[in-house]
Amino acid sequence: MADEQHITEVSGTGVPIPGDDIDTDQILPARFMKEVTFDNMADYLFYDARRDDDGERNEHPLNRFEGASIAVVNSNFGCGSSREHAPQAMMRWGVDGVVGESYAEIFRDNCKSIGIPAVTTDHETVTELQAWIEDNPDGDVEIDVEGETVSYGGRTIDVDITDAMQEALVEGIWDTTTLMYSNMSKVETTAASLPYVENA
């Protein structure tokens, strides 16, 4: 079983990824999912958006903010396909935490599963932070998961995080397999009570 890992704060330089409704097909195009592990996924992150028509790297923020740890996104980020490949690619590229206006639910669940805090705040606050990062590419952005704040450039803003995600990350119980495996006898009881489950 994986060791308990408490995630109370994450920090580093930021990368703004502006735009609403950025779907997981953009984050990780489907043609790059034809691998049986997540190992190479960082290479494919925003693959099409990061290249011009000749295949050369363009001015996409991910090309300009290499080494960043905190992604700052807008609303309904990660909508569409359930592919965990999307947050896995972000994590393997270097993203340790996300600040945004809102997330699609499966994307947020996937972030929780792999220990990436995804916090939310309003549109104005997000765009201010994105602009600050553009001006301060080497500036530090810190997400305090426990205190529900984001700090940068000498200011601290309040952010929201779902109770389940906060509890899971801070208490180090985001590995739900370990958590649920300890209840297997109760699982057997529930299964046996269902009219459609045989041999449980």
Binding site: P29, T37, D48, N76, N110, E198
Partner: protein
């Protein structure tokens, strides 16, 4: 907070316990597995030396990467990566004692087509799959939940997911659908009204006269696109249409056992006095077929309407999205989608890859040939669907019209196999997502529509109102709308 809904009842019956993080541990009654999102999860199990907890409740097939051209389905596949993915799935399911519907079974196909037609998806179940279109199974009155790979690991190892209970929104869809208007149009109408993120935090319960009148294949199409409206799950309460569809299917009990099971199905339907977090009504009476004009499924209009201007939208996010969409699709506000040039016609997918979908398209194609510049693919949602279409001679109609008649798979919905758009081709598509790059080319353009509309677009080489092709049909029977077939 909702009370007495199907969602509340099914949740309560499947809740194992509350977890320390405040979520519920929920038993998954049916776990569907495919080749793309599962190998990493099986790998995680192996690392931890864990076995699959409920192999009898787990079923696998292969859909996302498989070739759909018959002569490319010989093993090993020429596509080395696809071969590795399918081999891994065969190995993992064999090692774990999981039933796998491979090519040899004759039942291979898209998970969300295969499980319903075999009778695996039933009312009152929780269904999970590493695919966002798992809501499809809600058509039976089950709770279908799309999950990521770490959650697949959870389900394999424990038979459970950790989940937060959502709010329940009742959507009453009222009215009668006209000739040549289908379930696909109903769900596009719902998404047009409620938006692509309107369902975030909610489960959708679809009901009302327009939903009651749909047959099971139509209901599957509606629930399938719940996620396109932001709702992770969507369902329809089971009724006689549901029970009669299930009767006699392979994984459904027979005789007295059927009646016992039916008693359970009836018991989990929402109570007459159920409380919902909110209730909305959608007027579907006399709607025209809908087509998308943009790059998300909410950017959609009835076929006679004009493409909107960004200024028409109240929300800043919608205005900005409309600007991006107009640019990508290379159209102007005020323009009609009628006559928009089409290069590719794609019929199939977990939304519209069932027998009634091919029937509806065949009615339009009968006696016609497709435009010489159009590449047209008919891809059955499963090998069972293909066999049934071929038994009825529907394949001949497609082939005679100039369509390529393929084998089952996800195909050009997301282009993980050879079926992909090239350059800035425009595709008239019966699929569910018109996202940029979705069909395999970053400049490709997707226009979502119902299957009959795909057929008409193939004939004309342009977006067309398919009802023009139905005028001389006196029978008035169309797949997806079960007038006269509904038992109550």
């Amino acid at each position: 907070m909702s009370d007495g809904t199907l969602y509340d009842k099914v949740w309560e019956k499947h809740k194992v316990t509350e977890l320390p993080n405040g979520q519920d541990q929920l038993f998954v009654g049916l776990h569907l597995v495919h080749e793309v999102t599962s190998p990493q999860a099986f790998g995680m199990l192996e690392e931890r030396d864990l076995d699959v907890a409920f192999p009898d409740r787990t079923f696998a097939t292969t859909d996302h990467v498989v070739p759909t051209e018959a002569d490319k389905r010989q093993r090993p596949f020429p596509d080395r990566e696809a071969e590795e993915m399918l081999s891994a799935l065969e190995r993992n399911t064999a090692d774990s004692g999981i039933t796998f519907f491979g090519f040899d079974s004759g039942k291979q196909g898209i998970t969300h087509v295969v499980a319903p037609e075999l009778g695996l998806s039933q009312p009152g179940m929780t269904v999970a799959c590493g695919d966002s279109h798992t809501a499809t199974h809600g058509a039976f009155g089950s709770i279908g939940i799309g999950i990521g790979t770490s959650q697949i690991r959870d389900v394999l190892a424990t038979g459970c997911i950790a989940a937060d209970k959502q709010k329940v929104r009742r959507i009453n869809v009222e009215g009668t659908l006209g000739e040549g208007v289908y379930a696909k149009d109903v769900i596009l109408k719902i998404i047009q009204d409620l938006g692509v993120d309107g369902g975030v935090g909610h489960v959708y319960e679809y009901g009302g006269s327009a939903i009651d009148a749909l047959d099971m294949e139509g209901r599957l199409a509606v629930c399938n696109m719940s996620i396109e409206g932001g709702a992770r799950a969507g369902y329809i309460n089971p009724d006689e249409t549901t029970y009669e569809y299930l009767r006699g299917r392979e994984y459904v009990p027979e005789g007295e056992a059927f009646e016992e099971r039916k008693a359970y199905w009836e018991s989990i339907a929402s109570d007459a006095g159920a409380e919902y977090d909110d209730v909305v009504t959608i007027d579907a009476d006399g709607i025209d077929p809908l087509v998308t004009w943009g790059i998300n499924p909410g950017q959609v209009i009835e076929i006679g309407d004009a493409v909107p201007s960004p200024a028409d939208f109240d929300a800043r996010t919608d205005r900005e999205a409309a600007e991006r969409a107009l640019k990508h699709m290379d159209i102007e506000p005020g323009q009609s989608m009628l006559g928009y040039d089409v290069d590719v016609a794609f019929l199939g997918t977990c939304t519209n890859g069932r027998v009634s979908d091919f029937e509806a398209a065949a009615r339009v194609l009968e006696g016609n040939t497709i435009d010489g510049d159009v590449r047209a693919l008919a891809v059955p949602g499963s090998e069972t669907v293909r066999a049934e279409c071929e038994r009825r001679g529907i394949d001949e109609t497609f082939i005679n019209a100039g369509f390529q008649w393929r084998r089952a798979g996800c195909s050009m919905c997301l282009a993980m196999n050879d079926d992909a758009l090239e350059g800035d081709e425009v595709c008239a598509s019966s699929s569910n997502r018109n996202f940029v790059g979705r069909q395999g080319s970053k400049d490709g353009r997707t226009v979502l529509m119902n299957p009959a509309m795909v057929a008409a677009a193939a004939i004309e080489g342009a977006v067309t109102d398919a009802r023009e092709y139905l005028d001389d049909d006196p029978t008035g029977s169309a797949g997806g709308v079960g007038d006269g077939e509904v038992a109550d």
